[in-house]
Amino acid sequence: MHPATIDWAIMGVYFAFVLGVGYTLRRYMKTSTDYFLSGRSIPAWVAGLAFLSANLGAQEVIGMAASGAKYGMATSHFYWIGAIPAMVFLGVFMMPFYYGSKARSVPEYLRLRFDAKTRGLNAISFAVMTVFSSGISMYAMGLLLNLLLGWDFNTSVWLSAAIVLLYILLGGLTSAIYNEVLQFFLIVGGFAPLVFLGLRDIGGWHGLTQRLSYVATSQGFAPQAWSSTWSGMGHAASNPMGVEWFGLAMGLGFVLSFGYWCTDFLVVQRAMAAHSMAAARRTPLIAAVPKMLFPFLVIVPGMIAIASTVHTGVSGFSLPHKADGTLNYDMSIPMMLGHYFPHGMLGLGLTALLASFMSGMAGNVTAFNTVWTYDIYQAHIRPGASDHHYLTMGRIATVFGIALSVAAAYVANRFNNIMDMLQLLFAFVNAPLFATFLLGMFWKRSTGHGAFVGLLSGTLAAALHHGLTLPTGSLAGIKGGWLVVTHHYPSEMAQNFWTAIWAFSACFAVTILVSLCTRARPEQELVGLVYSLTPRQRQTERHWYERPAILGGGVLAAALLLNLLFW
């Protein structure tokens, strides 16, 4: 699959516009607030699409299609219960405190609500995590472009890093946000025709489910296992994910999803940049609408890929095998692009892949430079300097943030195990976070000591649980069971969900216990930070359908409908 002139021309148009947006915006960057928070001037729909796009890295796109092939339609749980309810909760209940407290970052909210040590813990783990995740995704992209197009690993990594660096250096968060909107439409524009052609080839939705029933029965599941979401969730053995409904709903739908969507600065930053409180609250709600339709764009291609592979002879498409003889699910989207797209559309498809990669990376970099500058540099290294000084620091942080990501990409390329271990560690650190925010925002009695000890206990509980349990069929070590194996889970996913549930519960209980033993802060200090002490929002929306509660209710109803339709 080698791009022709027309493909290069389309990629060229995209690169020119991405850099052009950064260049145009450079003259708006006068203060650190302009650079890190877009001067709080972004319209709701732009912030909403950026909110979605920042999370839509290449790994998300490639990985969701891979899961679609591996687990079928049930992968939509990562969207319909694993994202939508949390996004609605963020918009309706949590945004008033993030935006209203005038905190400039999520760790800074922790400083205002609790204390400096809780903020420091969150800021440092977040900063390290963003650099490494951006490195890991850069590594994944380098490998993919190498495999797909024969591009040199070094060239792909350095070129994409240079472009992202340039546009963030020029236009800061504003540039990242506006480019994320560009990237969002490119991703939709590049993948929608792929789904159309794939479905048409396989005989529509009906043809797809019919073929998927062969996939399911050949692996010993009920015929509808690959084309339904809930019907096999009664027991871990009756669905390909190997999880049961309670672990799924609590672990993914509650702990993991609320922990990510409601506390991760990478996404929350986009809403904080909105031009008003009303717009900030609408941001995640607007994002939820396309989010719930994304399974059809990124999961369905994986389902088409596996259905064609198992039942070949019709479309002539089949997934490649890995060196160990198993199917390479990660190649679902890239191989389908090459199979169905002629030159021209191929260029657009590749542009969509590049766009998803860059939006994910830019999301990480802009979140990193803000947390570094405000929560680490200003808080601990050099407080009280001029605003201009912090603006310069933000630009420097952008450069070394990207340099560190590139370094991380090379480490990932060399030592795959180190990256697996780091990702595991991040999972331990992230799992309890939502308990801290929930108690902080909705229980005025919770204290800084409680939050800090609670977070540490939650992380410890996650590590212990992982050390004591093992997914069936795995060896003790990185997969778990490195202390003593006391329990076997039917799958790795079930183990992940339960690790999160334990971490959350431990953090929740310990925060309450320690808070009750320590002195609470006076109530007047907590106004605007805690639900019961903050005056209700006055409705400022012009239309009834712009009200967060109504919009949120509508979004939830639509997500429920999708669950029922694809039960």
């Binding site: 148009v13 052009g20 002629p342 021209g344 559309m345």
Partner: protein, 66 residues
Amino acid sequence: MGFDIRIPLGVMFALIGALLAGFGLSSDPAIYQRSLGININLWWGLTLLVFAAALLGLAWRARRRA
């Protein structure tokens, strides 16, 4: 802030749409065997042009009102 993302977005999709549709008109029909005999370049290029026109129309209307 006087920056409307719909303008660059619209211009970018107009360019990409024109490139695709133009290539769809001039390319050898044999290459569309892989896209099930559909001239996907032409059709998707035209779709993107319509999308671009809608974006630019909205931006133009907003600018006139301001």
